[in-house]
Point group: C2
Chain length 200, copies 2
């Protein structure tokens, strides 16, 4: 951590705090502490909390879009593609378990931010739908809106991480190890369920 540039140290700290507590719950002092600097220097690099948050949010959304696009352009048969997407999303979430909740919450708090980032990043969602929706022979037999499938996949993958504390408490008696094991097993479970769901 020590050998990062100060700006990078700040962004790293800001991510840690914002991801866990959100814009409303985060404190500039806490971010400064986490970065190992003082508040004056924090404001020296990022003029305001809003600017700092914007930097973090924009970066996260960029990464989010980038990884969506990567799954889009993977040329695979539908069944393998579903596996591929599940693997990718789960590994993304495991390396940053707070990100999905963060994105959802902050967009709900201020939906305009997403529009702004999408505009400034020239991100065009028009062909996003095609993940499960086009150009594959198997696909024409699905018989439903492909978005139903992708939303199901996202829900099944994201929910157990977003609601971890709740689910761990009510279904696993608060046992962390048991829940971790549940998540390990979940990967194959979701893959096989998506497969079943896609069989006519």
């Amino acid at each position: 951590m020590k050998d990062l540039s100060t700006e990078e140290k700040i962004l790293e700290a800001a991510r840690n705090i914002f991801f866990r507590k959100g814009m409303d719950g985060a404190r500039m002092q806490e971010i400064a502490d986490e970065a190992g600097i003082n508040k004056a220097l924090l404001h020296y690099y990022f003029r305001s909390k809003d600017k700092l948050f914007e930097a973090v949010f924009q970066e996260v959304i960029r990464g989010f879009f980038r990884s969506i696009e990567q799954t889009l352009y993977a040329e695979l048969p539908l069944t393998e593609k579903a596996d591929f997407i599940v693997d990718r999303y789960i590994s993304m979430i495991e390396s940053n378990p707070f990100v999905p909740q963060f994105i959802i919450n902050e967009i709900n708090r201020n939906p305009k931010m997403l529009r702004d980032v999408m505009f400034s990043e020239k991100f065009n969602p028009a062909n996003l739908v095609k993940v499960f929706g086009e150009s594959d022979a198997e696909n024409h037999q699905l018989g439903f809106d492909p978005r139903q499938m992708i939303v199901s996949l996202l829900g099944m993958v994201i929910f157990p991480y977003a609601a971890r504390n709740l689910l761990q408490m009510i279904y696993f008696d608060g046992n962390e190890e048991a829940y971790s094991q549940f998540l390990v097993e979940r990967k194959e479970f979701v893959k096989s369920m998506i497969l079943k769901m896609m069989q006519s």
Copy 2:
């Protein structure tokens, strides 16, 4: 609204604000305004923001447990039971779309609160698992942890509401009516998918 008792007006207003903005984002002044009273009276009824929040949170968790239990004791064959649960949960969410996110967020913010409420309500989650997990002939052939199924169901049902703004923007070009229609169709989609998932 005018004919409710003041305490009920306050709780109603507090729900509106807390559900949307969470504990951190909510302002006592805003709650007072929403209830059509002043801050002094608000504190006259609920001594502090913490107490008011606690009242709302406790009430929500109680309702949550109650409805879980009602689905538990419904004596139905597995397949119909899944339909029953999907219907119930969706109608609950539609009458209060912010509640699932609220519960998840506030539990993440302070997991101890859930333990406290569960303790004071003497709620024992030990047999929750049995929803999809016991005493039904079909069930012994499932061949997986029934919790995987219930978490999938919850994820598929809750996620499209929790992430509404995000999904609406990226998959529906911001079109609200289109997304509402998507949610209408989703009900049957989820039911049929759960069915498929339960077929050996």
